[in-house]
């Protein structure tokens, strides 16, 4: 039998290739030059290059490698978000003890690997690349979550993530098997027309397959009741990693979620729409309610992430171009808001002895306005108050929901954001409306970090290196805070972009 190599559109594939190559390069740099800190620089360059290539491809969508991948605006926009998050993560990790412990090279290689997985996932157009992408995304993250080997919590989060995550992907796989069986094809298009036949509409096999896939994806996007790993992992993982995966994972997963459900499973939409709508509502409720009593900022942001996932899912439930646009728009906004918040958390973890406890930001308004403002803005944005991208995003979502006759879900979103105010504003209150705790923080921080006992009394924050000079962290916070604000006032550019995305997905 003869082997004909598939013709490959290298231009289209270039981003993936770039990433794959850079993984190896960074890894090698770590192996052979562990002392010199090349990895971050290399990683940033790799990310920048990939981003450049992606931007270069904007506008001409193409199926790559016999339809395994599809590089279109959806894939590109999501990939760009992912790359941005990764870059921010690199900056936040510069002084990250976790990075030091697993070795800078390996750390960044794994990060890039995960990014590669996400980029693949965003482009995936058949089940195999879908599954591979998902795993390439997850497995490095399992490791990175546990990367802070000296903290039990980090290991715990890694293990939990691994177990539940694998359970999720097993479910996903099983669902894929059913869909493959039902349609006899692994390509999304094939599936679409395979299950589109009259005989298979509402066929239990297909529907169960959909259910299984839905669960798998819902898990990755932390939709309730498959969300429970989220708060724990977010809290346990090293903060930069949390920052990265909080948004990037969601983004990539939602990309394929959209592609798979709104394209491949569109024929069965009438059956799964209501189910997902209910899940979205439940997620909004649980996420917001769960965040209420939290003291740990990371945990709080974890729950809020759950709630936000619920909002975003709304954009998917209404199978429409506008829906996709709204979804991507909100994802981008969410990325900015979240990152601003996490950057501040990172900074405070290192400055005060309070780890990520809410006490860490008490009186921030007086001591560190440059940190206080971004956090404030991001909180307001996440709560969906005007003049932030969060407000516009919610506006957009609500509009598509009402248009898609899901007004009740829109009302649910609104009620959710009312509840959410209770905890977001609690943080703001801590920043501005209470006397400073800073001297407290300093008092501990000034203690030289020797011996394992100091972190114990300091709340296990061996990150509390007391560094004031964290230019890069502050920069990240300020930049993304500013973006949150600016896009809230002049959203039109982002708008036009996401409009193309919606159109690119190609559905009614």
């Amino acid at each position: 039998m003869t082997f004909v190599a598939p013709e490959i559109d290298y231009a289209g594939l270039s981003p993936v290739i770039a990433l794959a190559v850079s993984v190896c390069v960074v890894l090698l740099s770590g192996v052979f030059r562990p002392t010199e800190r090349w990895a971050p620089g290399l990683t940033l360059t790799a990310l920048a290059t990939t981003a450049g290539l992606l931007v270069w491809r904007w506008g001409d969508s193409a199926d790559l490698v016999t339809g395994a991948l599809r590089l279109d605006e959806l894939a590109i926009s999501i990939s760009l978000v992912v790359l941005l998050m990764a870059a921010a993560c690199v900056l936040l990790s510069l002084r990250e003890p976790a990075a030091a412990q697993v070795g800078s090279g390996e750390y960044h290689a794994l990060l890039l690997g995960s990014v590669l997985g996400m980029v693949l996932l965003a482009q995936a157009q058949n089940l195999v690349s879908f599954f591979v992408g998902l795993e390439t995304l997850s497995i490095p993250l399992y490791i990175l979550c546990a990367a802070n080997l000296r903290r039990e919590r980090s290991l715990e989060s890694g293990l939990k993530y691994l177990i539940v995550g694998s359970l999720g992907s097993a479910t996903l796989l099983y669902g894929m098997a059913f869909l493959y069986g039902g349609s006899g094809s692994t390509g999304f298009a094939g599936i679409a027309q395979g299950i589109g036949t009259e005989s298979l509409l509402g066929d239990p096999l297909v529907l169960i397959g959909i259910a299984l896939v839905a669960v798998g994806l819902a898990f990755k996007t932390s939709i309730a009741p498959f969300h429970q790993w989220t708060p724990d992992v977010y809290e346990g993982a090293p903060t930069p990693i949390t920052a990265f995966m909080a948004v990037a994972t969601k983004a990539a997963a939602f990309a394929v979620f959209v592609r798979f459900f709104d394209v491949a499973l569109a024929p069965q939409a009438d059956d799964w729409q209501p189910a997902l709508a209910v899940l979205a509502a439940a997620t909004i409720a649980i996420g917001n309610v769960g965040a209420l009593g939290q003291r740990s900022l990371k945990r709080l942001l974890g729950y809020s992430g759950v709630a936000q996932a619920g909002y975003i899912l709304g954009g998917l439930v209404v199978v429409s171009e506008a829906g996709v646009s709204a979804l991507v728009f909100y994802l981008v906004g969410y990325a900015f808001m979240n990152l601003a918040a996490f950057a501040v958390v990172v900074a405070r973890e290192r400055e005060t002895a309070w780890s990520d406890d809410i006490e860490a930001v008490r009186g921030l308004g007086r001591d560190r306005p440059l940190l206080a403002w971004p956090l404030t803005i991001s909180m307001l944005g996440l709560a969906g108050l005007p003049a932030t991208v969060g407000f516009i995003g919610k506006l957009y979502l609500i509009e598509v929901l009402v248009e898609g006759d899901y007004t009740w879900l829109a009302v649910f979103i609104v009620i959710g954001s009312m509840i959410s105010l209770a905890y977001y504003l609690k943080v703001i209150a801590a920043i501005w409306m209470t006397p400073s705790q800073d001297e407290a923080g300093d008092a501990v921080v000034t203690v030289p970090l020797t011996g394992g006992d100091q972190p114990v009394l300091a709340g296990g924050s061996d990150e509390a290196t007391g560094l004031r000079a964290q230019g890069e962290v502050v920069a990240v916070a300020v930049v993304f805070g500013a973006l949150t604000l600016i896009l809230g006032i002049v959203p039109s550019p982002l708008f036009d972009a996401v409009r193309d995305v919606g159109a690119a997905v190609g559905l009614g």
């Binding site: 089940l127 195999v128 599954f131 591979v132 795993e135 497995i139 399992y142 490791i143 546990a146 080997l149 039990e152 919590r153 290991l155 715990e156 989060s157 890694g158 293990l159 939990k160 691994l162 177990i163 694998s166 359970l167 097993a170 479910t171 796989l173 099983y174 894929m176 098997a177 059913f178 493959y180 069986g181 006899g184 094809s185 692994t186 708060p231 724990d232 992992v233 809290e235 346990g236 939290q294 945990r299």
Partner: protein
Amino acid sequence: MSIEWYVVLSALLFATGAMGILIRRSPVVILLCLELMLNAGNLALIAFSRMVGNQEGQVFALVVMVIAACEVVVGLGLIVAIFRRRLPLDVDELRELRG
């Protein structure tokens, strides 16, 4: 033997694996149960690929084997790491994170 039999069997294996995850506390065994579930998936894939008469399912199954291997490697690595930290090898003991 009709394909149904294979698929139903795989369903049975899938359920068994899931149940195992729910009742076993040793992380190693939990990893084994994950293997069970993935294999159930594989069985289904192969059965279906036989049914529809194209080999994509088989290739998929092959890829899944690879990925399963990766999960195993990482999982075991994690277990070793935990063991190194003199932490109990019992998932129920690891619940610092909650609430």
